[in-house]
Symmetry: C2
Subunit: 429 residues, 2 copies
């Protein structure tokens, strides 16, 4: 502990160098001594650096972990031996980084080939890396799983942990995922403001929200609603087939009734055959089609509403895009806290529990009314690759909205939302 | 004063009815007794309700102003006699409304015809309306000017004041405009987060920012920069002709140098002949072409960069759209305060100064280093119709960035921006 305390109070000017490779990698009773690498992968979020700093602080406390290395741009940094010495980092810098959006070590979207894995172990051996922590989503869990498996095959003792992160909220085994709460807060606030905007200048407004296969983020559009006629009035999720005729009918009905219509649409909506309503040609290393960073889906839907509901109608579409995941100051405090904790828990699982590999899953206590979570270690393969979708009880029967059960689920995750005011006074007679 | 104090503490349950039409509209010494109408017009902002509530509170203090009426959806509410009784409103509701984004009375984009004006005076006479306050941009000032002129022609005594509002920051006579600081804060924060995102996953990122003819809002993209290589690396404003070849050359150069490139583009960029780079068919009552609510410009530029700089390049485009003007909690405190004050000042000008008409302009003290403003009454025609653009000293010589003079100008308007952290530790050798 004294070593840690000293470290945390070290001035910027005197960075300590990382520990030299230990002669013996392992000492009895499952204790594993060596250096650790941590890296970030996949889409950045507003709180992925909380997980990073949580893990770093926990590693700094550990006697088993000597050097604490940050790999730049995920596993690419391991392949290229691009590490920074995190024990040498100023604690005040760590405080600031924890609150900084995006991935401070850089990120990557890369699925390692067997050749990559071989190269990674070379590097790990060379640097006596015995702990590997990978913060990311299901693809990153898959990478961690591959690394763990290959390490076992190569008889190289290394503890491999995945630390969950995804604004999509689609990791299996988890009640919810770090990153979701803050992105959901952004979406909830955006719709609060935008539907007030739409009250002031009525028309049809379509907002396209991130989420490849899971509708959790799009569903968060309802969380700031206060009045019964607050938008969004229609919510389309990737969990339900999107039928254009049905959509046009819905829009016409709401617009006839309210004289306006605010719509939340997931970027991942697909028809009954599973074909995305909009699709660009670009595909990443994990086989994911590029959906974000273009306004094409929103523009297409807006054009169609204009053509089919009314040429004179004021129809606008916004695609929220990348702002959803890294907007400074729009952070859920619950999300930030949990992100920090999963980082710490992964290190504890590896060092204190001496587990060879795993992921940290967030579980919610079902027995209490108060929101409470616990953390559990789960097998890597249980969160890797496949994702989960919105459960049926969160989606309304018509497939164009969400239920109270979803609100109950999501509201504790986004933090306290502001309440807006409106005139209640009577008309002048 | 006692009447006012009583009014402000009145319980919700007992709304007072508006004053009955006075028999004599004017009492000696320029004192004008009667009812007042206030309305909101043009694009909503995050602080236009501050101006509304500021004006309402000041009117509630006045003995000359009897009924305080809110006209719904701008002058449309006058034409349709849709007024709400604002003196009957609960003061706590007013507190909340001041902090609520968008226009609480509803807005409109409408230029009154001579026939509309005639109808308006009918309504004003019927309700003994002797004060008219119109919160909005240059188009709203034009409307106020028309109303004031027509009222004078019709020999109807009415004081007509424009209260400035525009996120475009393009009203003449003003150092800056209420609404700009908060929208600029949104843009500055969005770029802070997005350029960190772009550091983590490099590529070319194009963000399209609102602003029809003036680049102030797009220019605000630089305000959160901390490191010399922070984005946006290129800023394109409507004040300079946009040349596609030059743009491609700029992007290639930055991307070659940094391995990434973040770009701020105004939605209003136009070629040397003044033709918008992107243009939809829709035109509003004031002759303004629809630019927002579509991702077409950003998508077009992204496609072009991919084609001409590199097919393998990761290129994304986001169009910030309507989120820029009504995002809850992203408010500049300076902006909120000034917005409230211009509302109060307009009422003071009409009631205490007994001016027949005018607009309130914000002036900045040039003599002190500390940011200080004062308010001046200016003639309506001096802010109506025509707008102002970014002065030359705010734009760099290459026409693809902004100057220090712009930063000095804009930083006091957006409020304190957060500082982000980054790793300073050395590489592991």
């Amino acid at each position: 502990m004294s070593e840690v305390a000293k470290e945390q109070n070290a001035p910027v000017a005197e960075p300590k160098s990382a520990a030299a490779p230990a002669a013996t990698p392992s000492t009895g009773k499952g204790e594993l001594i060596g250096n650790a690498v941590i890296a970030q992968s996949g889409g950045p979020t507003n709180v992925i650096n909380q997980s990073l700093v949580g893990a770093i602080r926990e590693m700094m406390r550990s006697k088993e972990i000597k050097g604490v290395y940050g790999s730049l741009h995920g596993i690419k940094g391991i392949l290229k031996e691009e590490f920074i010495d995190l024990r040498a980092e100023n604690p005040r810098t760590l405080d600031k980084i924890a609150k900084t959006p995006s991935a401070a070590l850089g990120s990557v979207r890369m699925k390692p080939t067997p050749a990559d894995c071989e190269r990674m172990f070379e590097v790990c051996k060379k640097h006596d890396i015995r702990y590997f922590f990978y913060i990311g989503g299901n693809d990153s869990a898959e990478t961690a799983h591959i690394v763990a498996t290959q390490a076992a095959n190569a008889n190289y003792e290394m503890r491999v942990f995945h630390i969950p992160k995804t604004i999509d909220n689609d990791l299996r085994e988890n009640d919810h995922c770090p990153g979701y709460g803050s992105a959901a807060r952004f979406v909830a606030l955006a719709f609060m403001g935008d539907q007030l905007d739409n009250r002031a200048i009525p028309g049809v407004k379509i907002n396209v929200v991130m989420g490849r296969h899971a509708g959790f983020l799009t569903a968060a559009s309802v969380l700031g609603q206060q009045r019964s006629d607050d938008g969004p009035h229609l919510v389309y999720l990737p969990e339900r087939p999107f039928r254009l005729d049905r959509f046009i009918e819905d829009v016409r009905r709401v617009n006839d009734e309210l004289g306006r219509c605010v719509i939340a649409v997931s970027e991942g909506i697909a028809d009954e055959a599973g074909n995305p309503v909009y699709k660009s040609g670009e595909v990443d290393a994990h086989g994911n089609v590029q959906l974000s960073g273009t306004g094409a889906l929103g523009d297409y839907l807006a054009r169609t509403v204009k053509e089919r509901v009314g040429e004179k109608l004021r129809v606008r579409a916004d695609t929220f895009g990348y702002l959803q995941r890294c907007f400074p100051e729009v952070v859920s405090t619950v999300d930030a806290k949990e992100a920090e904790e999963v980082g710490r828990e992964a290190v504890k699982a590896a060092v204190l529990d001496q587990r060879p590999s795993g992921s940290i899953a967030i579980r919610r206590a079902a027995t209490t009314k108060t929101y409470m979570v616990s953390y559990e270690i789960v097998e890597l393969e249980r969160v890797a690759r496949d994702t989960r979708s919105m459960p049926d009880e969160f989606i309304n029967a018509e497939g164009n909205g969400v239920t109270e059960a979803f609100r109950d689920y999501a509201l504790p995750l986004v933090g306290r939302l502001p309440r807006y005011g409106w005139f209640k006074a009577k008309r002048v007679g």
